[in-house]
């Protein structure tokens, strides 16, 4: 039996995010969640809403330690649908064997961008009894990808046709968190092509963060989560690590007659400020991307016509 591989996968297209990283473009990335189930239609539909708006789509890896479809499978389907993807890979669920084999498998299926992170602890998710792995940390995983790209696995064995990933990592953006900044420096020493951040609301703090890491010459893509209500702002401040919604932003949401519209305005304003501070933005809506095109349009981002 002959297996047909990737009908729509186009290697030249899949390099575009890498090329854009070294261009002067203001980059737009956006998060797409794998389904809890075997039906990919909602994920594909969500990606389609932002087709030609986003430069690449991050596919999450059991985010918040909630079990969902493998990001390799979802990435492959999004590639086939003509999207550029950034696959996320955490250290939580896989030991060093599984991480390396996942990387090879993802590359073979057309994934060219990989964003690695430690991963939320299993106790925070829907399978709190699951044994967390953390065989290696995100710095070490970056090191392993670097070695694999150079043609060797972790054991020093030769890898045939090494996976030439464009590699990213994540960070929080509070420059007063000395240890987190130190860890980001370690990550950057492992050869980063891009950094994606936790959601930013405090532009002043983000500016201070960019100054603090000014010596790291890696494109920074600032995370954004559009607010839907003042309650959501409170919730994120209390419960989501690395997020700081300033009081005046929460107040704007509380005063708004149409909170969803206000959230869109706040997000668009943030994009306009971030254009001057970093290389792009990464939109992670709670729910689907229904408002994302509107946010980008108001922020003066133009839809691309690259197909």
């Amino acid at each position: 039996m002959i297996l047909k591989t990737g009908p729509a996968y186009n290697p030249s297209m899949s390099q575009t995010f890498k090329n854009k990283l070294i261009s002067d473009d203001f980059l737009i990335t956006a998060e797409v969640s794998p389904p809890k189930g075997t039906d990919l239609s909602e994920s594909i539909a969500d990606a389609d809403i932002i087709r030609n708006w986003a430069d690449a789509l991050n596919v999450t890896d059991n985010q918040r330690a909630v079990m969902r479809m493998s990001p390799v499978a979802v990435s492959k389907n999004l590639l086939d649908a003509g999207h550029e993807v950034i696959m996320q890979l955490t250290c939580r669920d896989r030991n060093r064997l599984a991480l390396q084999s996942e990387l090879l498998g993802a590359f073979a299926l057309g994934v060219r961008n990989m964003c690695v992170m430690t991963g939320d602890h299993t106790t925070k998710g829907d399978h709190p009894g699951a044994r967390p792995v953390y065989d290696m940390d995100s710095v070490q995983l970056l090191d392993i990808i670097r070695r694999m790209k150079e043609g060797h696995d972790l054991a020093g064995n030769v890898i045939d046709k090494p996976p030439a990933f464009t590699v990213g990592a994540v960070t929080n953006t509070d420059p007063s968190k000395n240890m987190q900044m130190m860890k980001l420096r370690k990550k950057s020493k492992m050869g980063l092509d891009f950094i994606q951040t936790q959601a930013v609301y405090d532009i002043g703090q983000f500016e201070a963060f960019m100054e603090a890491i000014g010596d790291i010459e890696v494109p920074v893509i600032a995370g954004l989560i559009p607010l839907k209500s003042a309650k959501m702002a409170h919730f994120m401040n209390e419960n989501v690590p690395g997020i700081n919604v300033p009081a005046e932003v929460t107040q704007r949401m509380a005063n708004a007659e149409k909170p969803i519209e206000e959230g869109i305005s706040i997000c668009s304003e943030a994009i306009n400020e971030l254009k001057e501070l970093c290389r792009g933005i990464h939109i992670m809506p709670i729910g689907k991307h229904v408002n994302t095109p509107k946010i980008l349009e108001i922020a003066g981002i133009r839809k691309k016509n690259n197909d």
Binding site: H121, T123, K124, M179, K183
Partner: protein, 203 residues
């Protein structure tokens, strides 16, 4: 010391439901210091088992359950162990295992063993050491992230901390906050710049 805690008595009685003629062995080391295997706790267990209708043939608290030399050494201390058809070991898992190796009499644990920790200024401190077999604690100001960070990270914290609290145990400070403060006081923050490769870390 090995940190262990007492199982609920209901669980112990369930474990022993088909057993009788029980000999209780405590532990004069860690379990005694933690008040889960010393003489007072052994005597209390004796009383509770008798009240629950079990026959206890005798008891003994060795200096350390994990270092008992042989079954005959136990017999010298309390010959009534010869009549025992089961033993209840009020010690950590090592203690239970050492006693279980000595005879074919079933050895039941009364404790749950948690971690390698300590007892300082009246406070039980758990999870100080992960027993990785490759001690690097000096690099972290004497605060081991392998033992105390739930993700066992050595290159710095994850992004999961909120207001300096651990993502997994919000009642605790993120160990990386503690390490940073300690090394700052020692003027050795340079130690944190070391990148730990996977080869340098024992799993």
């Amino acid at each position: 010391m090995i940190i262990s805690s007492a199982k609920p008595f209901e669980e112990i009685i369930e474990l022993l439901k088909d057993e009788d003629d029980i000999f209780i062995i405590g532990c004069g080391a860690c379990a005694a210091k933690l008040h889960v295997g010393g003489e007072p706790e052994v005597l209390n267990m004796y009383r509770l088992l008798e009240e629950a209708g079990k026959h206890v043939v005798g008891w003994y608290v060795p200096s350390a359950a994990c270092s008992v030399a042989s079954f005959s050494s136990l017999m010298e201390k309390n010959p009534s162990i010869k009549e025992a058809r089961s033993t209840l070991i009020m010690a950590c898992g090592s203690g239970v295992s050492i006693i279980a190796r000595m005879s074919d009499i079933p050895a039941y644990p009364s404790n749950n063993t948690k971690s390698l920790g300590g007892l300082s200024q009246g406070e039980v401190v758990s999870e100080l050491c992960a027993m990785c077999g490759d001690c690097k604690v000096y690099y972290f100001g004497g605060i081991c992230p392998k033992g105390q960070c739930p993700k066992q990270l050595l290159n710095g914290p994850c992004g999961g901390s909120i207001e300096g609290e651990c993502e997994v145990h919000p009642e605790k400070d993120c160990v990386w906050e503690l390490i940073y403060k300690k090394l700052q006081k020692m003027d050795r923050l340079d130690l944190l710049e070391k990148i730990w490769t996977i080869e340098e870390i024992e799993p």
